[in-house]
């Protein structure tokens, strides 16, 4: 297959979108200090060092999130494939778990020092 110049421009545009979103999403990362839970427009923020179980109500039922020991994990969710449960615990800034069917998103946030001094591609 012979690619044309515009094909390469299309690929470049797609890669540029990846780069732009990467910079936007991962630039302001600090040390992971809090679990940020988002669901249908609401946001809950819990410190990662306090042990607690959070239940979030979504369209399918309750998603259970275990927080503690510097980590957060989805322990149960009423979705059919349980990918959010299989994702395991997250601890570093920028890491996330999403339960799309039940509309729950958990990610690690936190202010403070950058985890990496610099990243180059």
């Amino acid at each position: 297959v012979k690619l044309k110049i515009l094909d390469f421009l299309a690929i470049a545009a797609s890669l540029a979108a990846v780069a732009a979103f990467s910079i936007y999403a991962y630039a302001g990362g600090g040390t992971g200090t809090e679990a940020v839970i988002e669901s249908s427009g609401d946001t809950w923020i819990y410190p990662l060092d306090e042990t607690r179980t959070v239940r979030i109500r979504g369209p399918l039922g309750e998603t259970t999130i275990e927080i503690g020991d510097g980590k957060a994990a989805v322990s149960d969710s009423p979705c059919p494939d349980k990918l959010c449960v299989l994702a395991g615990p997250i601890a570093d800034p920028g890491q996330w778990i999403a339960c799309l069917p039940n509309g729950v998103m958990v990610h690690i946030g936190g202010a403070g020092a950058e985890k990496y001094d610099d990243i180059s591609y």
């Binding site: 297959v1 299309a10 979108a17 988002e38 999403a98 069917p101 990610h107």
Partner: protein, 181 residues
Amino acid sequence: VRKNTTTYPISKPRDPVAFFGALCMFLSTVEYLIPKPVPFLRVGIANLPLLLGLYVLSPGQLFLVALLKIFGQALIGGTLFSYVFVFSALGTAAGLSVMLAVRYSGSGRLSAVGTSVLGALASNLTQIALARVMILGKGAWLIAPPFLAVGTVTSILLGLFAETFQRRSKWLASVKRSLES
């Protein structure tokens, strides 16, 4: 009676829209069977009939195929009455619109690879925007980079396949001829 002088078989689907729609449904099933490490990272093979359809079907027919794809996929995935359906429907519509625009405005200057990549980009950006608005909030931005990166790679691969298939397939050529005659 006119004699058929072609040496290869003529494929004449009675209704090309139904045929391409069925192909979407079949490929959705295949897609559904592929294990995914992370939710909603997809290969996008169900879009292949739309990509190939650009070369044989009219824009109106393509939108009908897209409609069949959206519903077929929702039936197979069991997502008809969920958020995922809205994502799939609007993502597919955006992707197809962009691919049609690319096909008819930049005709000849882009292969199926460029067309596929731009279609996937439009579809994925639409879905990220929906995720931002509908459920995930700012967390949607964190999903965006891997989602778009995977989309770039898979859309290049699908484009390479479609370009090769579109040039070599006698079947596709015969479908095209049967629709033109």
